[in-house]
């Protein structure tokens, strides 16, 4: 009770330094939580995107590039797979479902992917969920210049059922490279929170035969998405394509392949984490410094309190509690900052990849980081508190002259 009053008054008396130190602690806490949550959620969410498929078959090259291209619609395709080879894997006894995709065109920077209607009738976006076409639309029909637009792309470009557009050649938008072919939007997909939301889907044959595309490779596909009947048969196919053959790459299992990506990015996480820890240290230092610096001004107050009968420990506790309170205020700010950062990061990641991070999902670090920082703040208060504890009373009560 009496401690609360002492702390409240002191915080108010040093309002500016209270605010500044609380803010720096908020920054540290917000950064720590954001880095941690983005790291763990990104890994988990990106890995989950591959869950509907077991493997990707593509041209000989990097497995990671193959997965990024076929499932995340990022990067360029490493090469082509002849249609016969697609048919071969599609009819393999171990394969439950194989869907080819072809890439190479875009509309206003959004990737156009050619595929078969089986992607929408048989395949899943994530395990247990199929693609859903929004009411009023339908899937394109093979052999027609029709397009099914992902929800994110539709929203960004304002595309709706009945709209027409002419694709551009290449994966990157180049206004000079427009094709003659005109496509009509037959449907918009419901948001799936997967990279598919950023794609414009057209019939496979449409992309293969787009005006200006080479006739010799017109029947090739870019990659084949593969669902196995049983996960263990992947081993055989892996052996067949990667070890015995030398024309293709069979990316399996997808989780392991994707893990390479995060391993490559691990240094970046480490740097961010280190920065967050440094900010935390600096913030704790500023708690220490701001209270320590005000100690000489407070020596008289401390002595007066002692003269009124306050025990040394009471004075000590009031300083530690003050540092703790600053840290607690900081942590309220930290949660706010965390939501802000995560919302921004989630928006960037969605724009770039279509993958949606969950801002409002609980993560233990949302408790452990603030608790840790409050303890750190309290610890920072111990140094000036010891100074207050040792403050001699009699000398500091004498009239100032």
């Amino acid at each position: 009770m009496i401690l609360a009053l002492l702390v409240r008054r002191s915080l108010r008396q040093h309002l500016l330094s209270t605010l500044v130190t609380a803010l720096s602690l908020a920054l540290a806490g917000g950064l720590l939580m954001s880095v941690w949550v983005v790291k763990s959620q990104a890994r988990e969410t990106f890995t989950r995107q591959t869950g509907a498929w077991d493997a990707v078959l593509g041209a000989r090259g990097s497995k990671l590039q193959l997965v990024l291209n076929a499932i995340f619609h990022l990067e360029a395709s490493p090469g082509n797979v002849p249609f016969a080879d697609y048919q071969a894997i599609a009819t393999n006894r171990a394969v439950a479902l194989a869907v080819p995709i072809a890439v190479g065109d875009n509309f206003m920077g959004y990737r156009i992917v050619g595929t078969l209607t089986s992607l929408f009738s048989a395949a899943e976006t994530v395990p247990g969920r199929k693609f859903q076409v929004a009411i009023g639309g339908r899937v394109f029909e093979d052999g027609f210049r029709e397009a099914l637009v992902g929800s994110f792309t539709a929203r960004r470009l304002g595309l709706k059922v009945g709209d027409t557009f002419r694709p551009y050649h290449g994966l990157n938008f180049d206004p000079k490279a427009q094709h003659e072919d005109e496509y009509v939007v037959t449907g918009v997909l419901e948001p799936s929170n997967t990279p598919a939301d950023r794609v414009i889907w057209i019939p496979l044959a449409g992309l293969q035969n787009m005006s200006g595309h080479a006739a010799a490779t017109a029947s090739d596909v870019s990659a084949v998405l593969v669902k196995l009947k049983s996960p263990i048969v992947g081993q055989q196919l892996e052996m067949m394509y990667n070890r015995q053959g030398d024309r293709f790459t069979f990316a399996w299992p997808l989780g392991t392949t994707l893990a390479q990506l995060f391993d490559k990015l691990a240094w970046f996480d480490k740097v961010l984490e280190l920065v967050a820890y440094l900010v935390a240290l600096v913030a704790a230092g500023s708690v220490l410094a701001s209270i320590y610096n005000s100690m000489s001004a407070r020596r008289r107050d401390m002595a007066i309190l002692r003269a009124l009968g306050a025990r040394r420990f009471t004075v000590f506790a009031s300083i530690v509690l003050e540092a703790t309170s600053v840290a607690v205020f900081g942590m309220l700010g930290a949660w706010g900052l965390y939501l802000l950062i995560l919302t921004a990061v989630a928006s960037v990641i969605q724009t770039q990849t279509g993958v949606v991070l969950q801002v409002w999902v609980w993560n233990p670090v949302l408790l452990t980081a603030p608790v840790g920082l409050v303890l750190l703040g309290a610890l920072a208060g111990v140094v000036p508190a010891i100074k207050a504890y040792r403050n001699p009373v009699a000398e500091n009560l004498l009239p100032e002259s």
Partner: protein, 227 residues
């Protein structure tokens, strides 16, 4: 039983740059009855403030005894002295020593918080008693020096002390305020049945007291200094 009983009290300080200790207080005897009011005179350097600090337990004595009622201050450790001070002694300073970050009411509340516990109603009535009932939420800097000393007086008696120590309480006041403050201190001590030991070197202040003790005479250490 006396409010204050001192026997053979000694205290000395080390002097920077010199070997050994300089005796500051060497007081064979001093007694104050319950409710008694006495003034202590003495030139500066006669150990007045040190003596008050010893009585209040702010400084530990070297030897000798100080009894407050039937409790011996000199027999207690620091925490015990703090508790005894919080519960039985009121202290009035020349420079008031109000806490600048706290309102009048909070200053008075702090005067009781460490002792018998905060009593808001009593704190308010005390401030009313010293004529500051309408200034409860003022901060010290918003008050005149005379008003500030009145807050300090209210704070000193807030823990219902048996003994009030006043160290040059009028030293920073103009003559009119000094007279009023002195009257208030004596009156409020009478009302709360607290003994008063007031230190001053102002002849006008000393003249008002029936019992005036000369520390220059009582304190052997001060006598040595003078010689």
């Amino acid at each position: 039983m006396d409010a204050l009983k001192i026997r053979n009290l000694k205290k000395s300080f080390s002097v920077p740059g010199k070997v050994g200790f300089l005796p500051v207080v060497d007081l064979p005897e001093l007694t104050l009855e319950v409710g008694e009011q006495a003034a202590l005179s003495g030139s500066s350097g006669s150990g007045k403030t040190t003596l008050l600090h010893l009585i209040a337990g702010i400084l530990p004595a070297e030897s000798g005894t100080i009894h407050l009622g039937n409790v011996e201050m000199t027999g207690l450790g620091e925490a015990g002295r703090d508790r005894l001070r919080a519960g039985t002694i009121g202290y009035i300073f020349q420079t008031f020593n109000l806490l600048q970050g706290f309102t009048c009411l909070e200053n008075v509340l702090l005067g009781m918080s460490f002792g018998k516990g905060a009593d808001r109603a009593y704190a308010m009535s005390l401030l009313g008693r010293v004529g500051l009932g309408d200034r409860l939420d003022y901060f010290p800097r918003q008050l005149s020096t005379g008003q500030q000393q009145r807050v300090a007086v209210a704070r000193a008696v807030a823990n219902r002390p048996h003994l009030v120590l006043a160290d040059e309480p009028t030293g920073n006041l103009d003559p009119t305020n000094a007279r009023q403050a002195l009257a208030l201190i004596r009156q409020i001590c009478t009302e709360s049945k607290a003994a008063l030991l007031l230190v001053s070197h102002d002849p006008l202040v000393l003249a008002g007291f029936d019992r005036v003790l000369s520390l220059s005479q009582l304190n052997r250490a001060a006598r040595k200094e003078v010689e």
